[in-house]
């Protein structure tokens, strides 16, 4: 009996002390030593599918050579929402993640994204957002419902924040901002409204969501005061809500705005895709100008492009006669590239193969008179090329060969 008591005591002591003997475990992980940054000019975003993988590779040349992503490049798969998240300047990457309310500044070191600094960054309704570099050190980020912040990216501090003063309309969703552009001490904003009960489209079986009107507001900058509002119903959805996808460009000192009624962005089947203008020195949309792109392209959709300079605008056209399902917008060879002569309004098709690409991807890059764009159509060896259009010569050239990915869905200039 006495022995049993001792045994019981041993068991109880063991039972109640068991875990505490192991409490002192502590982890310490020394961070990997970063290697020196590699100086490059461009960043190419490659993608493989199912499950999706996204990779950034830096290079100094997009006009020749080849790029493979096997074993190379920084894995950025978790930078939701993919390449749309990236903003680049002066060798750094910036990524705003609305789900985490975080703006992070990265540098590309040893083929990894190394965090330089992350700051809390709450944008109301920041699920979709866009950006504009006001200068090399000042970044405007705005959410699609008008919340904005201006950031000093050197110190990673917010210098100004608020919400664009845009009217709401009873019974309608919005305003939904398609672009915001600081130019000539004015902030230009384009927006539209959504309507669940908007009349059914003329095209059979199609339903509209965006109302048939494009709206514009122009504010004094930097005070963002004295708004001037205007509207135009020749198209709708001025700009678009995908970060890094062409919205505006400046030609002859005037601001030009590309519209996007396309169903992936705003969904209005009755309005054409085209280009508006706000002339320098005015604060309203120019009622005398609208370049109807769809009319010249068999009623097709235009989304994405780049202003090459010299009055030449490259646009991405989606052949709606070939794109029969939603999936085919991104995965079938349905895209053509055209050049718009801004002086004459004429459109010329570029002699490149039919391409496939996420039409909402920021993968067309204008830089120093050229526009680079991927033709994600694989040759017999499974490779494809980045092409470039040179506004000086008017020629289109096959550039760097891309290997081992399903698509290039991001193109960025770092300098």
């Amino acid at each position: 009996m006495h022995i049993n008591t001792i045994k019981k005591a041993i068991v109880l002591v063991t039972m109640f002390s068991m875990g505490y003997s192991l409490q002192s475990c502590k982890k310490s992980d020394s961070p990997d030593t970063p290697e020196p940054e590699t100086e490059k000019v461009f960043a190419v975003g490659g993608m493989v599918m199912e499950p999706d993988g996204s990779y950034i590779f830096q290079t100094g040349n997009l006009t020749g050579g080849e790029i493979s992503f096997v074993g190379k490049g920084a894995n950025v798969t978790n930078q939701e929402p993919g390449f749309l998240a990236f903003i680049t300047k002066s060798g750094f990457y910036y990524s705003y993640l609305s789900s985490e309310n975080t703006l992070t500044k990265y540098s590309y070191v040893n083929q990894t994204m190394q965090t330089v600094k992350a700051i809390p960054f709450v944008l109301e309704d920041g699920y979709r957002y866009n950006h504009q570099w006001i200068d090399n050190n000042t970044l405007l980020i705005y959410a699609y419902q008008g919340d904005y912040k201006i950031v000093n990216v050197e110190s990673m501090t917010v210098t100004k924040e608020g919400k664009f003063n845009l009217p709401t309309k009873a019974g309608l969703t919005g305003p939904i901002v398609g672009f915001a552009e600081v130019k000539d001490n004015k902030l230009h904003v384009g927006y539209w409204y959504g309507d669940e009960k908007y009349p059914t489209a003329v095209a059979p079986g199609k339903q509209n969501y965006a109302t048939g009107t494009a709206y514009f507001a122009v504010f004094d900058y930097p005070s963002l005061s004295n708004p001037v509002y205007s509207e135009d119903n020749r198209s709708t959805s001025p700009g678009n809500d995908r970060n890094g996808v062409l919205k505006t460009f400046t030609y002859n000192d005037d601001l030009y705005i590309v519209t996007s009624p396309f169903e992936m962005v705003a969904q209005n089947w009755d309005k054409p895709h085209g280009i508006y203008r706000i002339k320098k020195g005015t604060s309203v949309v120019d009622p005398t100008y609208f370049l109807n792109l769809s009319e010249k392209l068999n009623g097709d959709v235009v989304l994405g492009g780049g202003y090459a300079g010299n009055g030449k605008l490259l646009i991405r056209r989606i052949r709606m006669d070939l794109a029969l399902t939603w999936g085919s917008y991104g995965f079938a060879n349905v895209q053509e590239f055209h050049v718009v002569d801004m002086a004459s309004g004429s459109i010329t098709k570029l002699n490149v193969p039919l391409a496939k690409s996420q039409p909402t991807a920021p993968n067309i890059l204008a830089d120093e008179g050229k526009v680079y764009f991927p033709v994600n159509t694989k040759d017999i060896d499974g490779n494809f090329f980045l092409y470039n259009y040179d506004s000086t010569t008017g020629l289109v050239n096959k550039g760097v060969q891309i290997k081992d990915v399903d698509a290039v869905n991001g193109l960025f200039r770092l300098k």
């Binding site: 039972m15 875990g19 499950p51 789900s99 309310n101 083929q111 920041g126 969904q267």
Partner: protein
């Protein structure tokens, strides 16, 4: 370019572990397998062109015996030339004579050669000890051995002409004995035997509790059957036990009540179906899952891998798990309560009363779970899993925080009344089940998305009736039937206009959206789903070696939902599922070969009402599917202790309502979607050997799955999605489990699973564009994991009727890549790290297990554990459990 990846180093390590296990565990078995009669002797002998009669004579000289045979039986003039090296005498004779219908019998210094008799006689009876049946006793005659059933019954067939034979009986805790039996004539023999308790060995013996498990496992299915007896004093739930078996990987999103992803041999999600006593879990509503079932409610867990028997009536692509609760007819009471870390309370009451005179039965099954789940979250930059909060100056600081919105509560009670062991029914029981749950959500799919108010709550009730009868209408026909109707009501609440940081402070307020999705407005969505299920299983025993079964499952589910804030009515929808199954089971070669061939017929009907508003308007729709599945499961007993298994099924998973017809709001219909399908193949070998008080057991299995038409959700617009047939994968691998047990003093189990999932989709969907990842290993799939389990216990150490037991378990998960391994620089790839998690517990049982007290620690070394990317699991926890069990 295609890249094929291998991890040869790990495979070598796994092979070495396997070899060591096999060698270490089984050398003693083979060492003992020597000796026996003359026919079993091994000799080396050579014949060169001599008559058969001379060859037999030469063997007789060598063996110092004589052969007795009829010249009419053998071609004695036939000349033979052959060399035999270390072969059994019986095998040499068989080859020399060249007839398979002969039998050999050694008696003294004579070996008789005669014709085999086709006739058999049956020896059957009951093995008892002190008047009580002994289940699990081994009864053997010559080379044939069987195990007694739960009532101590056995049956063996021997040649009818055998007049004298030796019957050997053994069972742990009892003295083994052998008995010479004489029975003249060819009639069946009843032979009841009484065993004596071995007092000495009983010192270390408790009930083995494996009889039923062994019986279930004795089929060709690739099946893990887990007896939960040894876990009943544990605070683990059913999932945590399943997670330690081979081929299963459960990836949990958090603590008690969290969501989880369950994979069997690499296939997961809807490919795996769950059942409780054969009733599909989806019929129990959203509030009941395997990770809130306390272990005390289960008797055993059957895991069917890849090939699923017709009884479950399921369209299971990758496998099925059936939790079997106590369905015996004895009275018992099992009550337990545990309290532990994170303010976790778990109680279970499981009791049954049976009046043996009247057959009246009352059963109550119930549990209650509560936890704050407020475990610490630690920032882990190494694996890109930061926990950061604002410092008030526009910057972040990393810190450890407690989870603040993860409370979980669930309760269930099921009462059953009826009768057992009546003329008109073995069992006829009416039941009523009620379940209530409340669950808070702390994070989204990643811990970087923090929720502070989102929750789900609801209740469920289900009346049911079950019936069982053997020898219904005619001898050999048995029937089981089940019918239930369930109503599941729950609400998903995402009404907060405020979002939160990890420390609980406000992140943003006055949002137009909820917390779950920045693109979706605040919502309070009510669901009401109803389920009707009927299941009938008929089995007819044609004769001792042949059975046929017919199974029919019919279920009807209807869904209604509305959104309170927008007053939006979602479209009502319904689905009907009928699955017919037929099987034929055959035993051949003295039960050495068991074969089951089965066929399944699936019918699936879907309907959804008209959508008259919103962006995706459409008319009411209907859709029907019919599919046929086939399968086979066979096992061959190589020896009395070892078996090989083979199974195959052409399996289907039918599309679900949402996948075909959408939800009328955000999910666009795809009426052309096809069922997922898979060719599933398993080959296995298992061996179990008792040597005195030592048990050695080994189970090795390999599997192959060729699956296609996986149903995926693809985004279709900024807020819409559509399901499509997209995926095609090959999965293959192997698993091994070795076990050693010495009475009830010591038990050691080691298992490992290796599996690889290969992308097999050559072209991008709907195009002829090659997919770049074709042929590569699919990322984010655990591919190497294993478990070690050690139990040391001592009976009567602290007094008569007591038992002290120490349990230790270790789980190993090898790291795996979150994204494609070959793409991107190696230093930038995200990984789920290698983890080694330890659990330990001590149980003290008194009064022969009536009172039990246990202390248990999970994640003893407080590892930062992740099943999923950026989703930290609980750290170290302690639990105290008290249990009262009387039966």
């Amino acid at each position: 370019m295609k890249i094929f990846l291998t991890q040869c180093g790990y495979m070598r390590t796994l092979c070495m572990i396997c070899c060591a296990l096999i060698g270490g565990f089984f050398i003693p078995i083979f060492a003992q397998a020597q000796g026996g009669n003359t026919l079993e002797k091994r000799i080396s002998i050579q014949f060169e062109n001599i008559k058969l009669s001379a060859a037999i004579l030469e063997m007789g000289e060598r063996l110092d015996c004589s052969f007795v045979y009829s010249n009419q039986l053998l071609q004695t003039e036939k000349r033979v030339s052959k060399k035999y090296t270390n072969e059994k005498v019986a095998d040499i004779l068989m080859q020399l004579i060249g007839r398979r219908d002969l039998k050999f019998k050694a008696s003294g210094s004579q070996i008789f050669i005669g014709l085999k008799s086709n006739k058999k006689k049956r020896i059957s009876g009951v093995v008892t000890a002190n008047g009580t049946p002994v289940p699990g006793a081994v009864v053997a005659i010559a080379e044939t051995a069987v195990v007694t059933d739960a009532d101590g019954r056995y049956q063996i067939k021997i040649d009818a002409e055998e007049q004298t034979y030796q019957v050997r009986v053994s069972s742990i805790g009892f003295k083994p004995f052998a008995k010479i039996v004489e029975s003249k004539g060819e009639g069946d023999v009843i032979l009841n035997m009484a065993m004596a308790i071995d007092e000495q060995s009983l010192e270390d013996v408790m009930v083995l509790g494996q009889t039923e498990v062994q019986k279930i496992k004795d089929s060709g299915f690739n099946l893990n059957t887990v007896s939960v007896d040894k876990f009943k004093n544990s605070t683990r739930d059913v999932n945590q036990i399943l997670n330690t078996t081979t081929g299963i990987r459960i990836r949990e999103y958090g603590g008690l009540g969290s969501d989880f992803n369950f994979s069997v041999n690499g296939l997961s999600g809807k490919a795996v179906r769950f059942f409780v006593d054969g009733i599909p879990m989806e019929n129990y509503g959203v509030g009941m899952t395997f990770n809130n079932f306390p272990v005390n409610l289960a008797e055993r867990l059957d895991v069917y891998k890849g090939v699923v028997p017709i009884e479950l009536g399921a369209d299971a692509l990758g496998g099925a798990i059936n939790m079997v609760t106590n369905k015996g007819t004895k009275s018992y009471l099992d009550a337990s309560y545990s309290y532990g870390s994170f303010n976790t309370h778990r109680a279970a009451l499981n009791t049954q009363y049976v009046n043996q005179q009247t057959g009246f039965l009352f059963k109550l099954t119930s549990f209650y779970n509560f936890s704050d789940n407020n475990y610490w979250m630690h920032s882990n930059p190494k694996y890109d899993a930061l926990i950061q909060v604002p410092d008030g100056n526009g910057n972040f600081i990393e810190k450890s925080v407690r989870r603040f919105h993860d409370q979980y509560r669930s309760a269930m009670a099921q009462g059953e009344v009826g009768y057992v062991n009546k003329k008109w029914a073995d069992v006829l029981v009416l039941g009523m089940l009620y379940n209530d749950h409340y669950k808070e959500y702390q994070t989204g799919a990643r811990q970087s998305a923090v929720y502070g108010k989102v929750n789900r709550n609801g209740d469920y009730f289900m009346p049911s009736i079950r019936y069982k009868k053997t020898d219904l209408f005619t001898k050999g026909l048995s029937a089981t039937a089940f019918m239930s109707y369930g109503v599941d009501r729950y609400a998903v609440v995402d009404t907060s206009s405020t979002t939160y940081w990890w420390d609980g402070s406000v992140r943003s307020s006055q949002n137009k959206h909820g917390e779950i999705g920045a693109s979706t407005p605040q919502s309070l969505t009510n669901f009401q789903n109803t389920f009707f299920l009927s299941r009938v299983n008929l089995m007819y025993e044609l004769n001792a070696n042949n059975k046929v079964s017919l199974n029919q499952n019919h279920s009807v589910a209807d869904q209604k939902s509305d959104e309170e804030l927008s007053q939006m009515q979602f479209t009502p929808s319904g689905q009907t599922k009928s699955i017919w199954g037929a099987s034929w089971q055959n035993n051949a070669f003295n039960d050495k070969l068991k074969t089951e061939v089965f066929a399944k017929l699936f019918h699936f009907g879907l309907n959804i009402g008209e959508v008259t508003s919103g962006k995706n308007q459409r008319a009411a729709q209907k859709r029907d599917y019919n599919k046929y599945g086939l399968g086979l499961a066979a096992r061959y007993a190589v020896t009395a202790d070892s078996r090989v298994r083979f199974s195959y099924e052409r399996a289907y998973r039918l599309p679900e309502l949402l996948e075909v017809l959408g939800d009328g709001v955000n999910v666009i219909p795809n009426p052309d979607i096809k069922p997922e399908s898979s060719h599933n193949l398993n080959v296995g070998f298992d061996m179990t050997k008792w040597l005195d008080n030592h048990l050695y057991s080994l189970d090795v299995a390999t599997f192959f799955r060729n699956s296609k038409d996986f149903i995926y959700s693809l985004p279709a617009g900024s807020t819409s999605s559509q399901f499509m047939n997209e995926g095609k994968v090959l999965v293959y691998g192997g698993e091994l489990e070795a076990r050693y047990k010495y009475t009830d003093l010591l038990e050691v189990t080691l298992n490992g699973s290796y599996q690889k999932t290969k992308q097999n989709q050559q072209y991008i969907y709907g195009t002829e564009t090659p997919r770049e990842t074709y042929g590569n290993m699919v990322p984010n799939q655990p591919w190497l994991f294993g478990n070690f389990f050690l139990s040391v216990g001592k009976n009567n150490w602290l007094g008569k009727g007591t038992r002290v037991q120490f349990d230790w378990s270790t789980q190993y998960f090898h790291s795996f890549f979150l994204t494609w391994e070959a793409w991107g620089s190696s230093q930038s790839l995200n990984v789920i790290p290698t983890q080694l998690l330890h659990n330990a517990g001590i149980t003290y049982a008194l009064k022969d297990g009536r009172y039990n007290i246990a202390v248990e620690s999970k994640n003893l070394t407080n590892e930062l554990a992740y099943d999923n990317f950026r989703l930290q699991k609980p750290g170290r926890s302690f639990n105290l459990k008290l249990r009262y069990y009387i039966h």
